[in-house]
């Protein structure tokens, strides 16, 4: 074959790697029974493609060819190792005997395998940290360095986490399966939780200089789309909607200087209208199912904000109503706090403050900086600057994130300046 044709084939294989390597990996994990074997096999398969496709031509079903090649390469590896370890010979025999026909590698099988992979990586028997690391590595194909950097932890720590997670899967025999209908609600919750954590980590870094880390949010959304495609459950749809609607506001959330801009001050013309449109449609879909849960409700709240052309036009009545439902479904103090803030917008800061104080009095959010910020803001609106200052100072002591700190310090400076100039 000519040099140009060769290049063309190589480019095709590279494109195939980018678009399909995770799919191929998922099936190989099932066939070979382990992550590491599958990863080696997958790389061997792509290498084999680079070797033979230029001369033999691109096969009709490239994915099936790659899976088959990967399997054979794995058997070869086992045979070579069998010279030193008899157990590997037996493994090679078993693998050969279980040969599925190539026609089995339909798109449906591949999608099932991807779902299996997601559910395995997100198994509740693994810690949340392990699930996140494993999912980003095996399902999303991110590199160890990339993941470590995104979460601000050293790469060897992250690598160890992944090794231990794979070890747990192997040693405790976590099966490579899509959960049964009965198990699905709890298991899906585990998957959605991972997505939510990844998105949040990208949406507002837990510490450090920048407020938003884009890559992780985009990854979470991509994974959310895949999940909805494979398993269109209402809460999966709801979570995707929530992520899209939040992410749509990203361009307006920070100033050019990296300063935090709150929702009521954001330039709404910067919001991503396409994403909002998509998010709104998904919320409708999820709500229509009548089997929705907390993610869908949070998305519905985000939708109300997204539909308001200005902050003043926000339908707080609807938001409070949605928070009432959310609180019944998920009685967490953070939800109660957010509801109090919404209630303050609908009924006035005095009522909101009473609620926030009740929550703080219960001791649940004593170390949550946003609770104290909320209190501070309400006191400020009620013309009680000293209390506002005290609450902002409390909040400042509890957050390490630089843009958030700068925001609070600005508010403190404003309040102190006001006190310094007594009103008539």
């Amino acid at each position: 074959m000519s040099a140009e044709a060769d290049t063309g084939v190589r480019e095709l294989i590279e494109a195939l790697y980018r678009s399909d390597s995770r799919r191929v990996l998922a099936t190989l994990i099932r066939l070979l029974g382990g992550f590491d074997a599958a990863e080696e096999a997958m790389h061997d398969a792509f290498t084999a493609a680079l070797d033979s496709w230029p001369s033999d031509g691109v096969p009709e079903n490239p994915r099936a060819w790659l899976i088959s090649a990967g399997r054979f390469k794995a058997i070869d590896r086992l045979r070579r190792g069998a010279r030193f370890d008899a157990a590997l010979a037996a493994a090679a025999e078993r693998l050969e005997a279980s040969a599925p026909p190539v026609s089995d590698f339909t798109d449906d099988t591949l999608e099932d395998d991807r779902l299996r992979l997601i559910f395995t990586c997100c198994h509740p028997a693994l810690s949340a940290d392990a699930r996140i690391a494993l999912t980003l590595r095996e399902v999303c194909g991110l590199g160890t360095e990339q993941i470590a950097h995104a979460f601000l932890i050293p790469a060897p720590t992250l690598a160890q986490r992944i090794v231990r997670a794979k070890g747990k899967i192997r040693d405790a025999q976590i099966p490579y399966q899509v959960p049964s209908r009965a198990e699905l609600p709890e298991r899906l919750e585990a998957v959605l939780h991972v997505l939510y954590l990844v998105f949040n980590e990208g949406y507002s870094a837990s510490s450090g200089e920048t407020v938003v880390r884009h890559d992780l949010s985009a990854e979470a959304i991509r994974l959310g789309r895949l999940l909805v495609e494979l398993l269109p459950e209402p809460e999966a749809i709801g979570l995707l909607a929530l992520m899209l609607l939040h992410d749509a506001r990203r361009p307006a959330r920070t100033s050019l200087a990296g300063e935090l801009i709150l929702l009521d001050e954001q330039d709404r013309s910067l919001w991503n209208r396409e994403q909002i449109h998509e998010g709104l449609a998904l919320v409708e879909q999820a709500l229509a199912s009548r089997r929705f849960g907390p993610y869908t409700l949070q998305a519905a709240i985000a939708a109300v904000h997204a539909e308001a052309s200005t902050a003043a036009a926000t339908d707080w009545r609807q938001i409070v109503g949605l928070y009432d439902v959310l609180l019944r479904v998920e009685a967490s103090p953070v939800v109660a706090l957010n509801r109090a803030a919404a209630l303050a917008m609908r009924d006035g800061p005095e009522i909101g403050l009473a609620l926030v104080d009740a929550i703080l009095a219960r001791g649940e959010l004593a170390d949550y900086h946003l609770a104290h910020s909320a209190r501070a803001d309400l006191c400020r609106r009620l013309g009680r600057p000293q209390e506002a200052i005290a609450a902002y100072e409390r909040s400042l002591a509890l957050t390490t994130q630089a843009p958030e700190r700068r925001f609070i310090e600005r508010r403190l400076a404003e309040l102190r300046a006001d006190l310094g100039n007594p009103r008539n």
């Binding site: 157990a87 198994h123 028997a125 040693d171 405790a172 025999q173 976590i174 099966p175 399966q177 959960p179 198990e183």
Partner: protein, 118 residues
């Protein structure tokens, strides 16, 4: 694959439980054990006497030392165990979740180590 299900629960609750509740629990345990015997998942299992009857043995530098009480003072104490056969962790979790004490305490599910035949 074999798994050990270690049953942890707050012993002091037993002391304060009315007789009918205790009897009910015993009945539930009986039914559960019968169930996993029938399914072939049961290999073994026992209830343990309370943790104050425990003795902890250590040998250091050839010397035996015994101390009164369990290995560690914990909020929930080891009260019993089941050794079960299960295809995978999911099945083991399903079995463990039906152990009556799972509702009030915690069940630790630990895979049994398999040593390769030499």
């Amino acid at each position: 694959m074999k798994y050990l299900c270690l049953i942890y629960d707050d012993e002091s609750r037993r002391g304060t439980m009315p007789k009918e509740q205790l009897d009910k629990m015993m009945g539930e345990y009986g039914a559960f054990t019968e169930g996993i015997r029938k399914s072939g998942q049961y290999i073994g299992g026992e209830a343990l006497q309370p943790s104050q009857t425990a003795t902890t043995v250590r040998v250091r530098q050839g010397k035996i030392s015994t101390t009164d009480g369990p290995f560690a003072e914990t909020k929930e104490q080891l009260g019993g165990f089941y050794l079960i056969n299960a295809t995978d962790l999911n099945e083991a979790i399903q079995v463990a979740s039906r152990i009556p004490s799972a509702r009030s305490g915690s069940i630790e599910v630990r895979p049994i180590r398999v040593f390769d035949a030499q």
